[in-house]
């Protein structure tokens, strides 16, 4: 073999290992909580046991295949049934199982212990985003929605994909390092699941019920996960991002959020005009409605109804308001009244009634939504 050839192979291997770095993750992610660490180790132990059994069982099988072939002239013996052997091979696996069940049990008791948390955050699954409400501890009262922030162009291949493609959100959940965070999970529509592999956390969010889980992140950083339970069309597009900050930075973040929320609170008695509401409604529409009804208001034929030119968006406004507030049972249309403020609902309905070919010219004021809620 010439030297050049060796070099070429070396370069190819290097390139391959480089690629492996980029796109071939093959083990559990590096744990950043104790629970995730325990799981990581349990998995290693199990793999060790399995490897030993694998080598034993298939060593025997392939030796037998090699040595006891008809083609090499091996004559069949006629032994069968041996109670001693059969008891031994039932008992040994049983003992191995008890040996692994013990550490697993300890780990379960630990990961189910959600008591005495420092911070409690409620995570609500929506089709298809997460909402976070800080219920107790530092940051109490903070509340926001967390949407996928990857641009549509990257998904459809019109733009190059970014580093955190599909694993990035507009507003991540933010928590302080080293604090026990209890996460209460529920859902607004169908079952979702909140998963952050680096924390060793996965918990279903079930509509109408509250479940909980917890984590204590031991390292600052940004940790990413995804919805893990099939929840409809955009199941693959509702990631979870948790930013773990130092205590000081977390306090600063809390202060910032409180200011933002105070500023964002709308004066309920303000009279809005058409262009103001339309501009705001377009944003609300892009964040909440576009996934099904589409940017052009045409929906998806047979699955999600069009709004452009529809009876709903051009007919009596009362019905339109009611559908947006309360959703439509048995369809993916969620009751947005629980997620959006009066102003946002008013804005989005105004937008829908005045966008595309819809030209009702109607302006729906937030006060109207407020009274419709009652």
């Amino acid at each position: 073999m010439t030297n050049r050839r060796v070099n070429a192979i070396g370069a190819a291997l290097l390139a391959l290992s480089g690629a492996a770095e980029a796109a071939y993750h093959w083990n559990l992610p590096t744990p950043v909580t104790r629970v995730a660490g325990e799981i990581y180790n349990l998995h290693l132990v199990m793999m060790g046991i399995i490897l030993v059994i694998f080598v034993g069982v298939f060593g025997v099988m392939f030796y037998s295949i090699y040595a006891h072939r008809k083609s090499v002239g091996h004559k069949a013996e006629n032994f069968h049934e041996n109670i001693t052997v059969e008891i031994i091979w039932a008992i040994i696996p049983f003992l191995i199982l008890i040996a692994v069940a013990w550490p697993a049990t300890k780990s379960i008791l630990n990961l189910k212990d959600t008591a005495s948390s420092d911070i409690t955050i409620k995570a609500t699954g929506y089709q298809w985003k997460w909402g976070y409400d800080y219920l107790r501890g530092e940051g109490e009262g903070i509340s926001f929605l967390s949407n996928l922030s990857t641009p549509q162009d990257q998904i459809t291949g019109k733009a190059p994909k970014g580093e955190h493609y599909l694993l990035e959100v507009d507003n991540p959940m933010v928590v302080p390092v080293g604090k026990k965070v209890r996460v209460l999970l529920t859902s607004n529509d169908v079952i979702h699941a909140w998963m952050v592999p680096a924390f060793g956390v996965k918990q279903d969010a079930i509509p109408g019920f509250v479940r909980d889980t917890w984590f204590r992140a031991e390292k600052e950083g940004v940790y990413r996960g995804q919805c893990a339970e099939l929840c409809g069309k955009d199941h693959g597009f509702m990631p979870i991002v948790v930013e773990v900050l130092s205590t000081e930075k977390y306090m600063a973040w809390v202060g910032e959020q409180k200011k933002r929320m105070a500023a964002a609170a709308d004066d309920p008695n303000k009279k809005w005009n058409l262009s103001e509401l339309k501009a705001r409604g377009e944003k609300v529409y892009a964040a909440n409605c576009v996934a099904c009804h589409q940017a052009n208001g045409q929906g998806v034929k047979g699955t999600f109804p069009a709004l452009d030119g529809s009876l709903l968006a051009n007919g009596p406004r009362g019905r339109h308001i009611e559908i947006v507030l309360n959703g439509k049972r048995g369809t993916a249309m969620a009751p947005f009244g629980k997620q959006l403020s009066d102003t946002d609902v008013a804005a989005v309905i105004t937008y829908e009634r005045n966008a595309w070919s819809n030209k009702t010219g109607e302006v729906i004021q937030p006060s109207e939504i407020g009274s419709a809620r009652k």
Binding site: A23, Y24, L28, L97, A193, M195, D204
Partner: protein, 531 residues
Amino acid sequence: MSAVIDSGHAHDEHAHGPYGGVMRWVTTTNHKDIGTLYLWFSFTMFLVGGMLALAIRAELFQPGLQFWHPEFFNQLTTMHGLIMVFGAIMPAFVGFANWQVPMMIGAPDMAFARLNNWSFWMLPVAATLLVGSFFVPGGASAAGWTIYAPLSTQMGPGMDLAIFALHIMGASSIMGSINIITTILNMRAPGMTLIRMPLFVWTWLITAYLLIAVMPVLAGAITMLLTDRHFGTSFFNAAGGGDPVMFQHIFWFFGHPEVYIMILPGFGIISQVIPAFSRKPLFGYSSMVYATASIAVLSFIVWAHHMFTVGMPTAGILFFMYATVLIAVPTGVKVFNWLTTMWRGSMSFETPMLFAVGFIFVFTMGGFTGLILAIMPIDIQLQDTYYVVAHFHYVLVAGSLFSLFAGFYFWVPKWTGRMYDEKLGKWHFWLSMIFFNVTFFPMHFLGLAGMPRRIPDYALQFAGFNEIASIGAFAFGLSQILFLWIALKVTVLGRGEEAGQRPWDGADTLEWTHLPSPAPYHSFHEQPVLG
């Protein structure tokens, strides 16, 4: 119908039934004809489900959305699952039962011949509803093959068609099972005591009981779903006092025995093939029977290991984890028995044996990953990721499907009187084996790295292994076209060497020792006498 009754009375004069052409198949009450129908039906569904799988893998070849809308992608995964489970694997095993059970116990036919015809002919109706649901407004059900409420209450009319299809398939399975149980318990030749029955018959007897026990449970779950969807009930709707998690409990109470329904007859086939090609009796016949029965019993008390992330109380988690790992014991007994049967035998490796050994190898790997998933803390990381996808394809494709292939190559000489093309059969094995692993082995890594299942698009860190899996899937799919040719050649075209009564010198069940090849249309009108 009167003609059918005639054929029952006077089969000697009507060696091939009263009708020729299509009507022979529509009106047949012959277990061999019905077995053939089941097998062709299931193979057709296997190809349909396979095409859906390739459509899935095409989308997942690269990150980004290339071919399908996310909603349609969900329809693909859902229908792939439903079609493969209810349309391909289950009917294929019933096809084997129809052909083999009467011949292996020395019975002339199945106990309820006309019921047998009906249980088959319900299936194409169900399949039409299922496949046709792609073409109704909103398309097919997109709630996953597990059709979890309340997602499934959101679906369009495609969901209702799927529910009706499942009802019909369930009814067909129950009737088939009643038939199999009655046949086995009442029609064995004198001297064929229960504890002398071939293991394939034993595993089907136990499977049939499982089917009768759990198909009504599925029927209950989907009926409640139907009334939730249309008649205002709230079984699975918390707002009306129901509980979405209850659906999962009921579904998996059916679903876990269901996975054993799809593997136990496979164990039976492997337990016929391994001794035949090792030229040595099965090492522990009775312990194999007991192991099968214990797996069946355990299958009823482990269902919630599919639901470790719903938030069960600790005591519940521990119970289901312990019960689940216990299954490793009888499963281990089976694998050890096959190995000791091979040990010091005189083995030859024709295609059935290749598939049987391949089965042991890959099925055991599926068993290992099952053990890992049973450990609840690890399952927290792996639940609903590609690790689970890898696991159940190892036991369902490499397990059930490979055992079906083994059974086909093993028995087709008896069915047709001709040998299949051995060279092509070996190609089929090696291509299937290699590309199966190329497709599904990387999925373990994807799951460990945290890629959720049932997503149409994924983060860049998952790109490498998805590419490999997609390439493997297309090659695996193409390899099955080779199987179609092999099967056509030996069955429809009737090409291949004459098989002779007993082409496998190690095979010693009744169909080999007492019947010529091909087995006559009506076999055992006189009961064989066993020593």
